[in-house]
Structure formats: C-alpha cells, structure tokens
C-alpha cells in the first residue's frame, strides 16, 4: 500500500508529463471504445437489415441449395413453419420460393427473380416492404405482384398494368402466367430494384409445378444473441428430415459476413497501430521518469531496498497510470458512445441515395450500440499495455548500481 502511495506521488512529480500521457492513453481508449461501439451498432443494424430481407438469422435449405442455388432443391415445409415458430426466441418464420424467369410487358422484357412470399409474415419483417400495408402486398395465390422500381421503369409499366412471367417448370416445360403490378418497391440496391418481383408463394409454386414447396425457410429471431440457443433446437426439429439443413446467417450470407469481417479487421488494425503508439508514449514517460530519478533510485537501493522492490515501484507507477487512464478513457468512451447512439452520424449530408454494404441497405444515420464486454476488455487491455510498457523501464531501474547512482549528478 505504501509502495502504491509512493508510486502515486511519483506520478505527479512531473504533473504536465503525466497529464499529457494520461490524455493520450485515455483519448485513445475513448476512440477505440467509441469507434468500436459505432461499428458494433452499424454491423448490428446491417445484420438485422440483412437477415430480415435475406435469409433470417437461421435458415433451412435442402442440403445443396446454399451452394448451387438450383431451384430444383425445393421441399415441402409441412409442419416446420408452425414448429419453428413455437421455439423460444423466434420472431418469425418466412417460407420463400425463388424462381428465375422472364417478365414481359407489351413493350419490353427483362430477366427477373420471381420470389414467392407469404405477405402476412413478410410484411412485419422484410425492410424492403417497410411502410407497406397488407393490402399493398400480394395474396398467397393471387395474381398481384410487387415490382422493383427499376424493373417497372425498364418494362415501361405503371401500377395496375398487366405483364406476363415466363419460367421453366419442374418438368422442364416453359410456363407463363399473367400478373398485375400491385405495388412498387425501391430497396436502394440497383440489382435488386432491377429484378425484384414478389408474388404470392402458392401462386408461384403452382406455376413452377411444385405446389406447396419452398426453397428457403428463413427464421428471424427476436435477438441476434439467441442464435446459439435456437440453432440446436432447430437441428433437433430437422433430425427426421436429413435432406434439410439448418444454417446460420454467416453461412447463408457469406458476402455480408465477410464484408463485416473485413471491415472489422481493418478497424482492428488501426486500433492496434493506435495502441502501439500509446504504448511507446507510456514507455517514454516511464523511462524518462526512471532516468530522472537515477540518483534517487541509488539512494533507495542504498538504504536497503532490493532491485525487485524498485522494479515493483516502476510497475506500480505504470499500474496507477493505467488505472487512471482506464477509468478516464472509459468515461469518455461511454460519453462518446452515448452521443453516437443518441445522435449518430448522419451520412445523408455526404452522399446521395441509400447506403449499401455487403449487399445490404442500411440506415444512413450510423448509430452506436453498447458492447460492454468489449469496452471492459479493451480497458483492461490498455491497463495491461501500461504494465507491458513498464517492463523495459523497470528492468533499467533494477539494473542501477547504487554506488554508481550515488555519484550521479
């Protein structure tokens, strides 16, 4: 305790130097915590948007569908939709059917991806359908269609117009059916807006000659963290149907997952550089402090302190510096996170249109989310770095020869 007291007093010998070092360390910690929480919030929003528009947090496919995307890998969900819907933590179960085809108006024709959906379930979840009422969406077996805005323009259609969809049915025959533009949707992603065509799932399945079948059963969870708990339960439900396979969103949407990983890795790299610079700063402070007290350390050794005790003193100074920086940095980091969560960063002033990343459109106002475990972890890591920074100065202090130090002026 006395040693900590002495270390504390030693820290404030050079008040300005200690304050500058503290500011550098705590500011870095604030930046790392704040920017990580911002990324965490943006990634969470992207994942949420991605899973709701895409595969869900968990998804059920015929075994090879995820790799081949071949429409022949369809299956009848039977009781699965109800059974999965009853699992704890599941918000919605979305059966979907995807069929490549050709949409023809009287003037133009375009390649499309006909997506058969259950509007009732989809409307609550799918961000593409945000703001649309159930009446604006296709019924399960009706001829209404929701069309992507670019596709509508390219086909030179207007709401209410009719058009024909042609696709290959399961038995290899070309089949056509007429649909009517019921609503128009703009996702912000060019490719999707050029090819999106939502129709009732049952109508699409009958057209493709696979009535009652689907290709994807997207499971959206109330909380992303529930994935670990729901996944094994889902697998248990599938154990009697070995041709079906449950995947997490990271496997089903590798583009989004990899884009996030890459972005996170690059920010981690910047964090590492920042922490390295801070560590060098702390080493400099501690080393200067040791060298300035060369004679005093000689006196302390002369009156009976061991080299080990002197090293512990240097570590105690680094520890206290680290603790103060950890507390200050975490307070500032929390304030920054709070601001970034409450106000966020509005990117609409910097760029036009919607923001797309990893195949997902997300909110142009970036907002942070609290990642407490990471904040604690990085705060303690900063403390550890302060102690690591003390190794060389402590070794140096321990090597001081008292007789030599006492001659030092």
């Amino acid at each position: 305790m006395e040693l900590l007291n002495l270390a504390w007093k030693n820290l404030w010998r050079s008040r300005r130097r200690t304050l500058i070092t503290l500011a550098a360390v705590s500011f870095s910690l604030m930046l790392v915590q704040g920017s990580h929480n911002l990324s965490f919030g943006v990634y969470s929003a992207m994942i949420d948007s991605g899973v709701r528009a895409g595969t869900g947090h968990l998804v059920v496919y015929q075994r090879d569908y995820v790799d081949s995307r071949d429409e022949k890998f369809s299956f009848a969900p039977q009781q699965l939709v109800e059974q999965i819907g009853q699992l704890d933590g599941v918000e919605a179960v979305l059966p979907r059917l995807f069929l490549p085809g050709l949409a023809q108006s009287t003037r133009e024709s375009r390649g499309v991806l006909v997506t058969g959906v259950d509007s009732q379930a989809e409307q609550r979840i799918n961000p593409f359908l945000k703001g649309m009422s159930l009446e604006q969406l296709p019924s399960l077996s009706g001829r209404e269609a929701v069309v992507g805005s670019r596709l509508l323009k390219e086909l030179q259609l207007k709401p209410g117009n009719k058009f024909v969809v042609t696709l290959q049915s399961r038995d290899g025959e070309l089949v056509s059916e007429m649909f009517r533009v019921h609503s128009v949707v703009t996702t912000g992603m060019k490719n999707i807006d050029k090819s999106l065509l939502l129709v009732g799932r049952e109508r699409a399945a009958r057209l493709a000659g696979i009535p009652g079948e689907i290709q994807e059963l997207a499971v959206v969870l109330r909380d992303q963290q529930a994935e670990q708990a729901v996944y094994p339960k889902l697998q248990r439900l599938l154990k009697d149907r070995p041709q079906l396979r449950a995947l997490s969103w990271t496997e089903a949407m590798p583009n989004l997952s990899n884009a996030i990983k890459l972005d996170y890795a690059s920010s981690q790299f910047i964090f590492i550089i920042l922490l390295l610079i801070v560590t060098i700063g702390v080493i400099n402070t501690l080393l200067m402090s040791v060298m300035e007290r060369f004679k005093e350390f000689g006196v302390i050794l002369a009156v009976g302190a061991s080299a080990l005790r002197l090293r512990i003193l240097v570590f105690a100074e680094a520890f206290l510096l680290g603790v103060v920086a950890m507390v200050l940095g975490s307070v500032f980091g929390s304030l920054l996170t709070w601001y970034l969560q409450a106000v966020g960063i509005d990117l609409r002033d910097f760029m036009e249109g919607n923001l797309e990343f990893g195949g997902v459109v997300f909110d142009p106002i970036m907002r942070a989310s609290w990642d407490w475990p990471y904040m604690l972890q990085i705060a303690f890591f900063m403390l550890l770095l302060s102690l690591v920074a003390a190794i060389y100065p402590a070794i140096k202090a321990g090597r001081i020869l008292p007789a030599e130090a006492l001659r030092h002026h």
Binding site: L6, V299, I300, A302, G304, A305, L406
Partner: protein, 225 residues
C-alpha cells in the same frame, strides 16, 4: 570481535584502457561503538572505502567483513538485506525523497522492513523528539533547511537501529554552526546509545570530533590514530 573488518582490500575501476586503483591493499578493523573518521584529500579513496563497508560495492581483491558477513561473497539480494538490517546511510546532499514528508522519509527503511504503520510512526515520533525535529513531521523536504534535512537523514539512518551508520561528508553542505550542532548530536547518540559512526570527511571540524581518525592517501592507509 570487530564489527567491520577489511582484509587486504583493493578496489580497481576500469577507466577506458586504464585501471584506476581507488583503494590499494588496505586492512582495517572497526569495533562496535566507535566514532571513526576516514580522512583524506579528494581522491584518496574515502568514499570508495565507505561504499565497500556499506555493501554498495564489492572489493576487487581482499575481503570486507560486516558483522560476520563476507560482503564480497554475497549476492546482490543479500547485500540489499545487509544494508537494510545493518547499515544506516547519511549522504552529503541529504538525498531525501522529495515526494515524501519528513516523517515518511525517516520511516522509509522501517517500511522496507515491513513494520506496521503505527509502530513506525511511534519510532519516528521518538526519533524526531531526540533530533529536535518535532512539528516538522508533515513538512516536505523542500520546506526544510539544510540542517533540518540532514537531521531527517540521520533519523532515517537510525530508524531501523542499524549496527553502523555510515556518513559520507555529512557536513559538506552545511554552515559551520549547523555542522557543529549536527556533529554534537551524532556524538551524543554515539555516547548515549552506543551507535557506531563511520564518517568520510576532510572537514577539520568533523575530524576534531572523531575519537579515531583513519587517514588515507592515494587509496592507501596513511595513519590510524
């Protein structure tokens, strides 16, 4: 039996390609309770000899014995223990730790010995009373005069009741009156408490107070009277 015994001790320092002989083949015995001055001009080897006795340095040749311990044979850790338990140091420029108060400086060795705070403070109160430092316990060294700082240094040296107190030119930074007072104080401590003092000094005042004067010249023993 001698408290301190030097047997044919030499200390040689390398200086570039040359070697400087600071102490040459010196033998000396100091008994407990002595009040001895190592006298001699600058460069005569006084401080080197004091460093050897004080376990701050080890001899190049010969043996230095302190209270039954062969200093030259001990490990650094053991030497630190010896310094803590057997030796008190007083330096020319006081060398108090500036961030500690007078009392904290004085009890520093007791803290190193692991003695609890209450007992430490009790001992310091007694010492401060004896050394005329009452009321200065909570002052910082920078708020004390040179004489007061040296008294605090004496308190630090005496706190752990060492076998010997080594004082390197203790009056060199003090005025005549303060030097006189301090020497009288140390003499009293020697006479009443039997504290062994070994000084290094070329100050005639210090030499005049000594009961034994060991004169050195060029690292060799010139006289012992």
């Amino acid at each position: 039996m001698s408290l301190i015994e030097l047997k044919s001790v030499s200390k040689i320092y390398p200086l570039g390609n040359q070697q400087v002989v600071a102490v040459a083949n010196l033998s000396l015995k100091i008994k407990a309770g002595e009040f001895t001055v190592l006298a001699g001009p600058s460069g005569s080897g006084k401080t080197t000899l004091l460093n050897l006795i004080g376990c701050l340095d080890q001899p190049s040749e010969g043996e230095v014995w302190l209270d039954g311990h062969n200093v030259g044979k001990e490990e650094a850790k053991q030497l630190a223990k010896l310094r803590l338990n057997k030796i008190g140091f007083i330096f020319q420029s006081y060398n108090l730790i500036p961030v500690l108060t007078a009392a904290e400086n004085a009890e520093f060795t007791l803290m190193l010995l692991g003695i609890d705070k209450v007992k430490r403070r009790q001992r310091i109160v007694e010492l401060f009373a004896e050394l005329g430092l009452q009321g200065l316990e909570d002052r910082n060294p920078s708020d004390l005069s040179g004489g007061q700082q040296q008294r605090v240094a004496i308190a630090r040296a005496m706190a752990a009741q060492p076998a010997v107190i080594l004082a390197d030119e203790p009056t060199a930074s003090l005025d005549l009156q303060t030097s006189e007072d301090l020497l009288a104080l140390m003499q009293r401590l020697n006479e009443t408490q039997g504290v062994t003092f070994v000084f290094s000094s070329h100050d005639p005042l210090v030499i005049s107070h000594a009961r034994r004067v060991v004169s050195l010249r060029d690292g060799c023993l010139e006289s012992d009277r």
